[in-house]
């Protein structure tokens, strides 16, 4: 017999068909079974993780209570400050107005951009918390450069929120006949008002 000539294959069509069917059906069933097994193993592994986390959570419950007691007051202060939770833009504007009056400047022009993720959040390792910033650009006139530092210091002390100064430009303006109480300098600054949102709270 020339082993697998056409005639031989024809005569073996039925057993070969049965063999192919057995392999195909077996492969499908095994593949399905393997999928089910992997799914069950994943579910079991997930459950073991939950169990481990539940144990850790229970073991740390005393520690967590201590943490809450230790940090709750300061957290609530940050909420009042407007750092935690929604933005308090009215507080910021009140702060600008009050700082302007306190430092006896000539008024502050401002522009506030849209809220966006804080670009340096990764440096702060926020975990489940989310950090945002709103960039405010202010223009103000000064008698001398020390007024700018007094203005920014006053704004920070007022507790209108938490901000960082990104950029400032101070330039001389022509004071004309050098009259007293006329601005000699013009300053333009960019402030980033930073807010923090706990997990589960959505942006308003």
């Amino acid at each position: 017999m020339n082993a697998l000539d056409l005639h031989t294959l024809k005569t073996l069509r039925r057993p070969l068909g049965v063999l192919a069917a057995v392999i195909a059906i077996g492969a499908i069933l095994l593949s399905y079974t393997d999928g089910e097994l992997q799914s069950a193993q994943r579910a079991a592994a997930q459950q073991q993780n939950q169990l481990r986390e539940a144990r850790i959570q229970l073991n740390k419950s005393g520690e967590e209570k201590e943490t809450i007691v230790r940090y709750l007051d300061r957290y609530q202060y940050l909420q009042q400050l407007g750092f935690v939770g929604d933005e308090q833009r009215i507080n910021w504007l009140d702060g600008l107005r009050f700082a302007n009056r306190e430092t006896r400047l000539f008024g502050v022009d401002y522009q506030i951009g849209a809220q966006q993720p804080y670009p340096y959040a990764a440096e702060l390792n926020p975990g489940q918390l989310t950090l945002y910033q709103s960039v405010m650009k202010i223009n103000l006139k000064l008698l001398h450069e020390g007024d700018l530092m007094r203005f920014l210091g006053t704004l920070a002390r007022l507790g209108a929120g938490l901000f960082s100064v990104n950029q400032c430009v101070i330039e001389r303006v022509d004071a004309g006949d050098n009259l007293r109480n006329q601005p000699n300098l013009r300053a333009e600054c960019e402030l980033a008002w930073i807010t923090l949102r706990p997990p589960g709270e959505k942006k308003s």
């Binding site: 017999m1 492969a27 918390l129 990104n166 430009v169």
Partner: protein, 542 residues
């Protein structure tokens, strides 16, 4: 029987074949057929070697199950045996050499065979072959055709003497020179084995019914001894052992004559009772045909010298292939079923652990443990102070606010340093001062970006400043002005907080790649201005 016997090993791989098969013996006088079932057959059906016998044989085959493999035994005068040594070879070379030799010896028959029978003891270590053939294929042609026409798979065709070797093995005979003598349907069969290996065989057509038959048999035995000597298979000096296979107990006299007439021949007669006892053939089966013993030996173990060409055994090999495929399918199905069952058992076991929450379960399930731990945790949290979020988040929020406070910068430090240096540089007047705290330095334009466009993240943040100034008074002395600016820059660079100072613009562009024009008129106020720009960068730690 007290002849020397071969050591008996019971771990033989050649176990008796118990598979059902049809055994057929063809001789020039008659054809015997026996249905082998479960390791034996009950009796033989006999057919005369004639047209009538062939027709009856066909009718007999028509009743046989189609898948039954057929093994055919031929007892004929037209046979040939050659024991030859060929140069040692392997693989395709061996096949080519043997086929060439077979064609050389047997041109006119398709029924031929060659078996390797070991190596020579000489230096060349040649291969020793037994070549054998049925030289008259016409003898069995019609009977083979009848089998094929009935769609029965023909497994093999063998010469009767090759089956005789099985008798020696069954009886465990160890004689060096052994002559097997038996009276079959076609005459007296004399088969010579040297060291338990078939060397030569001949068939003497002697009518067993005549009174002179026994005497003629004895003469044939003596002649055979001379024949062996003539063929140089053995010398007359060597001891020859003769085993008379007397399946019907009619050759007792022959044994006596041989022993009496040939003192140098060791003769023994294997009686009917011994055959039944030692070979395992049933007495009625043995009595049913003169060839029954050889059919039984063929049923037990087919020899390796199959004469049938490939086209004759096509059906048998196709059947084996089919059975092999079916067996493979069965094995694969079984293995897959076992694997599948094991997997489902594991799935069941895992699901039982995941989902079961029965309190009576032998082991507490993970789901139940989680539920209990969470309940304990909820109970513990009832004693916590009311908090808007988890303790971890409270701590993170406070720490982040502290970090932001620690990383916040103002222009005050840089302004203080610039003011201090200006006190030592009276000729320098600052017109514009820019400051930036970010991952990139302040742009030479110095204008703050529009709100909403944050500085690019990535890299350590640092403070940088841009000073737009001029030299006052300036009366056209560019050399003095540039020296004053360089002095100012040098003083700034000496401050410990400063990492880098770079003058980005001078009052006079002395770059050879640029054009330069101006006026050299002397006099105050007419020489223009000496403006410059200077970039100042703090160390990143500040």
């Amino acid at each position: 029987m007290n002849w020397p016997a071969l050591p008996k090993f019971n771990f033989s791989f050649n176990r008796p074949d118990t598979g059902d098969k049809l055994l057929i013996s063809v001789s020039a006088r008659q054809v015997s057929a026996a249905h082998w079932r479960h390791g034996h057959f009950a009796g033989c059906d006999m057919f005369t070697y004639s047209d009538e016998g062939l027709a009856a044989f066909k009718s007999y085959l028509a009743e046989i199950r189609k898948s039954l493999p057929v093994h055919m035994l031929v007892d004929a005068v037209e046979e040939d045996y050659r024991f030859e040594a060929l140069p040692h070879s392997t693989g395709r070379d061996r096949s080519a050499l043997v086929n060439r030799k077979l064609k050389q010896h047997y041109r006119n028959t398709p029924y031929l065979s060659a078996q390797l029978r070991g190596r020579d003891a000489g230096k060349r270590r040649d291969d020793r072959y037994l070549f054998c053939a049925l030289t008259n294929p016409e003898l069995i042609a019609e009977w083979v055709q009848a089998v094929i026409e009935c769609d029965l798979p023909l497994a093999g065709i063998y010469l009767l003497p090759t089956v005789s070797q099985g008798l020696v093995e069954r009886l465990q005979l160890a004689q060096t020179n052994l002559l097997l003598v038996s009276s079959n349907s076609s005459g007296l069969r004399l088969t010579f084995l040297r060291e338990q290996t078939l060397r030569i065989s001949r068939l003497a057509r002697i009518d067993a019914t005549t009174a002179q038959a026994i005497k003629n048999y004895a003469e044939e035995i003596s002649n055979t001894r001379l024949y062996l000597h003539a063929l140089r298979v053995m010398t007359l000096d060597e001891q020859l052992s003769v085993l008379i296979v007397d399946s019907d107990d009619t050759l007792a006299e022959l044994a006596e004559i041989v022993a009496r007439d040939n003192p140098n021949i060791e003769c023994h007669r294997l009686t009917r009772a011994e055959i039944v006892a030692r070979i395992g053939i049933a007495a009625p089966a043995l009595d049913s045909s003169a060839d029954a013993l050889y059919l039984h030996l063929l049923g037990l173990q087919a020899p390796d010298s199959n004469l049938a060409p490939a086209n004759v055994t096509f059906g048998y090999r196709r059947q084996k292939l089919r059975r092999g495929i079916n067996a493979a399918a069965g094995v694969i199905a079984f293995v897959m079923a076992v694997m599948g069952a094991y997997s489902w058992y594991r799935i069941y076991d895992i699901n039982l652990e995941i989902k079961s929450d029965s309190e009576s379960a032998a082991r507490q399930t993970a789901a139940r443990q989680i539920a209990e731990l969470q309940a304990q945790y909820r109970e513990a949290t009832r004693q916590y102070p009311a908090a808007p979020t988890s303790g971890e988040n409270l701590r993170s929020a406070v720490e982040i606010s502290q970090k932001i406070g620690a990383t916040t910068r103002s222009p005050e430090t840089m302004m203080t340093i610039v003011s201090r240096v200006l006190e030592h540089s009276p000729a320098i007047a600052v017109k514009r001062f820019g400051w930036k705290y970010g991952a990139t330095n302040i742009e030479p334009g110095g204008k703050a970006d529009e709100p909403g466009f944050a500085a690019a993240a990535g890299g350590a943040r640092r403070q940088s400043g841009l000073i737009d100034g001029e030299v006052r008074p300036f009366r056209g002395d560019h050399r003095a002005a540039i020296e004053a600016i360089n002095g100012f820059a040098s003083l700034l660079a000496q401050q410990p907080q400063v990492a880098e100072v770079k003058i980005t613009k001078l009052p006079l562009n002395i770059n050879p790649a640029s054009a330069l024009s101006g006026n050299t008129t002397e006099g105050g106020g007419l020489a223009g201005t000496a403006e410059f720009k200077l970039l100042l960068v703090f160390k990143p730690t500040l």
